[in-house]
Symmetry: C2
Subunit: 159 residues, 2 copies
Amino acid sequence: MSAHGFERHDHKRCVATALAEAEARATAEGLRLTPVRRRVLELLLEDHRAQGAYDILARLQAEGLGAQPPVAYRALDFLTKNGFAHRIERLNAYVACTEGAGEHAPMFMICKGCERVGEIGETAAGAGLKAEAAAAGFAVERQVIEAEGLCPDCAGTGA
Amino acid sequence: MSAHGFERHDHKRCVATALAEAEARATAEGLRLTPVRRRVLELLLEDHRAQGAYDILARLQAEGLGAQPPVAYRALDFLTKNGFAHRIERLNAYVACTEGAGEHAPMFMICKGCERVGEIGETAAGAGLKAEAAAAGFAVERQVIEAEGLCPDCAGTGA
DNA sequence: GCAGGTATTGTAATGTTATAACATATCTAC
DNA sequence: GTAGATATGTTATAACATTACAATACCTGC
């Protein structure tokens, strides 16, 4: 089962792997993982919480990497368009992708307790959505599947 | 199959029914469908497009029903909390509910062509989401299932 | 019917998220 | 090394949402 974000894990390794894969894929596909873009991806990878564009921007400003909103939004657009990160609509915020490339119908679990966001790459929910839409004659281009609630850790503590 | 929003239908009747049901339910459950709230529901019912809070606010202002953002947001909160309307996260906008009360895991289809939003009351996607979350030990409190693409009409015209 | 509590509305101010528009710089291919 | 495409810098503003507090309307018990 591939739900990422809530399990205990070696996060340093998690970051290193994601970054290495991103670089490999960027090279392979001719995508330019520029300093700002790479740095934004690193910031998103720091933990599994969703970060707002302005959170990211503040970090970039502190590092002298860009002062205005478009800098952050452009980097985030690049990362989300190319599958390195995802936008969480419910939060107007962003998380690094924890599932491999090639995924298409990810689902997210947003914990109200610890604010972490778990991702599942391909889901029954996604398949169901496609089937439902097809039955209605609707051509899906993008889908949003998000659950908000309590992660196993936070649910356990009665939070 | 109950996908509402895209089919040709007698919209006057659609509005009248929804409004009557809302009033009946408000009475039955002791909810106060005040003039502003009722008017906002009417505005949302005018068509099946999603409307932003500020669209609604502009209409209210024109009618002398309220001048500041909280007026619109409060009415929309009331309507969404009580199931008379839904918030579309992808659009930061609102639609009137077209499925009956008691629904819990609706899915929305957002057409990029005509901007209409279709609703399906209970879906395989919703069931899949719940199952997936349960398997991950995640306790779902709220869920967001939205598809963006082209409705049957717009897909047909190659839009 | 009126005192007291609760729900609703009015209003000002502000906070947060996102984009348009245009200038400049950098990369890549030829 | 120049042209065209891609990426960045910067200003300004648009769009979405909330906090906080005052005023009013409404129920309820007496």
